[in-house]
Amino acid sequence: MGSNKDIDLIEDGKRLDGRDFDELREISIDAGVLKRADGSAYLEWGKNKIMAAVYGPREMHPRHAQETTKAVVRARYNMAAFSVPDRKRPGPDRRSTEISKLVSEALEKVVFTENYPRSVIDVFIEVLQASAGTRCGGLTAASVALADAGIPMSDMVASCASGKIEGEVVLDLGKNEDNYGQADVPVGYIPRSDELCLLQMDGNLTQEEYEKAMEMSIDACKDIHEIQRGALRERYSTELQEEEITKASEGVE
C-alpha cells in the first residue's frame, strides 16, 4: 500500500469516482478475439485493458518439466512497456514472476489437468493499460480464455479485490485508492465450490475488516462470474450465427 499521504478518497459517503463502497468499476469481456491462440479474451475493467490468450494443451518443453500424470498450467503475466505512466522495462521482474506463479496455481485447480498428462497449457496475460487490479483482471480474463479454448474445467475463476481506504472497507480499489489506501486483498474465487484459489493481502486490517472485505469480494466475484459467462454465451452465439449464415448461404447456392 502507498505512502499514506493525507489524500481524500471519500467524500459524502461516496468514492471520488462516484462509486459506492461495494460497487465494482465497469467490466466488459470479449471472448475469442485472437486468431492464432487456441482461446482468448479481452477485458476492460475500469481503465484496465488486458488481453489473455491460451495455447494448448500441447507438449511440454523442456521435457524435464513434464508431469507424468497431468498437464501443467503455466501462466505468464506481462505488462506492455507503455501500459503504465513510467515506462516498464520489457521482460519479467520480481512482481510479474510472483503474479505469474500465483495465477498458474489459481487456474490449475479448475482445469481437469489429469486429462492431458505430459502437456502444458500456456496462459498468456498481457496488460496493455494498467490501472490497479491487473492481477484480478488478468485471472478473470484468463479463465474466459481457457473456456474459449475448449479446455475442460470444473468452473471459471472469478477474481476481484477489496481493501481499505480512509478506514472504510471498499470493493475493487481504483488507482488512487490503491496508491493511497490502507489495505488491498485480491481474491480468486471458484463459485461452484465456494473456494478461494487466490488470496493475498497487504496493508493493515483487523479481523473484522478482513471479514467484511472478503464477503464483499466473494459477492462481487459472483457478479463477475456472470459477466464471464455472458462473454462466453456471446461468443458461442456469434459462432452459432456464423454457422447459420454459412448454412443459409450454402442453401442459397
Binding site: 507503455f82 521482460g91 496493455l128
Partner: protein, 267 residues
C-alpha cells in the same frame, strides 16, 4: 516449435501463386483490411493499434528526460524495441528479443530515424545536457504475417499521436504538453517473393513458403529512406526497381489512411 505447412498445403499455395491467385482471393498487390485505432492507450504518450487482417500490433511511445548521446548533443534520443510475445504465435517464445524481433525493431527504427520522421533537434532541452528520450515499443498481439508493415505503419501513427509530456517533467522547462514535431511521414511497404511472383501484405501461410522479402520506406516526397531485403532468397536488381515504383503508389494510399486515423491538424 517452428510450425511447418503440410506438403499438400504447400503445393496448393504454390499452384495458386503460379496462377496469380491468393488464398483469400486478394490481388497480388492488395492489402488486407487495415484497421487503425489511434490514441487508445492512455498511459502512453502516443499509441496506435494496427490490424492487417488477423495480424494485430500495438505501438506505444513513452518519453522521459535524459542524457543526449555524446556525438549528438543537440538531438533527442530515439529507441525502438519489439517484443514478439508468445501470445501472438505458437512459434514465439518468452525471453529476450531474438533475431526476428531485433530485425523488426531495427527496420522500423531505420525508417523513422533515417526518414527524419521526427525533428529530433526540437527534442533537445539543453544542449549536451538534457534531451527528450523517446521509446517506441512494438507489441505484437496476433501474428498472421507482414509484421514489418503493421509495425512500421503503427509506429508512424503513434508518433503523430504523441504528445510531449512537458508538464510532467520539471526538467523539461515547459509548462504545457505539445504535439511531437513531425518532419516527415514515413511509410513502409513490404513485397514478398514466392518463386518468381511478388505479392503484397503476405499472410502467415504465404510467408512460410516465401523466398525473400523487400521492405521499402518512403516519405511523402517519394524519397526512399530505408530498405531491407530479408529471408534467404534473392532479388534481381530489375525487380527492386519495379518494387520501388509500386511502392510509391501504395505508400501514398497508406499515408492517407494514417493521417486520417490520426486526426492531427498541424502537419
Amino acid at each position: 516449435m517452428k510450425e511447418m505447412l503440410s506438403k499438400i498445403t504447400e503445393d496448393y499455395l504454390y499452384r495458386l501463386i503460379k496462377e496469380e491467385k491468393r488464398i483469400d482471393d486478394r490481388d497480388m498487390f492488395e492489402y488486407r483490411d487495415m484497421e487503425m485505432e489511434v490514441g487508445q492507450i492512455e498511459p502512453a504518450e502516443g499509441s496506435a493499434r494496427v490490424k492487417l487482417g488477423d495480424t494485430d500490433v500495438i505501438v506505444g511511445t513513452k518519453m522521459e528526460v535524459g542524457d543526449p548521446y555524446p556525438d549528438t548533443p543537440e538531438s533527442g534520443v530515439l529507441t525502438t524495441a519489439a517484443e514478439l510475445i508468445p501470445m501472438a504465435s505458437p512459434e514465439y517464445e518468452s525471453g529476450p528479443p531474438g533475431e526476428d524481433a531485433t530485425e523488426l525493431a531495427r527496420v522500423v527504427d531505420r525508417g523513422i530515424r533515417e526518414g527524419d520522421a521526427v525533428d529530433t533537434t526540437e527534442l533537445c532541452i539543453e544542449k549536451g545536457e538534457k534531451v527528450w528520450v523517446m521509446f517506441i515499443d512494438i507489441h505484437v498481439l496476433d501474428f498472421d504475417g507482414n509484421l514489418l508493415d503493421a509495425a512500421g505503419i503503427g509506429a508512424m501513427a503513434a508518433l503523430i499521436d504523441t504528445e510531449v509530456p512537458a508538464s510532467d517533467f520539471e526538467e523539461a522547462e515547459k509548462e504545457e504538453d505539445y504535439s511531437l514535431p513531425i518532419e516527415h511521414t514515413v511509410v513502409p511497404v513490404t513485397f514478398t517473393k514466392i518463386k518468381d511472383q511478388l505479392i503484397l501484405d503476405s499472410r502467415l501461410e504465404e510467408e512460410k513458403i516465401a523466398d525473400a522479402r523487400l521492405t521499402i520506406s518512403l516519405n511523402e516526397e517519394n524519397e526512399i529512406v530505408a530498405m531491407q531485403k530479408g529471408l534467404r532468397g534473392v532479388f534481381d536488381y530489375e525487380s527492386t526497381k519495379e518494387c520501388i515504383n509500386k511502392a510509391k503508389e501504395i505508400t501514398s494510399e497508406t499515408r492517407e489512411k494514417v493521417l486520417n486515423a490520426c486526426d492531427r491538424e498541424n502537419l
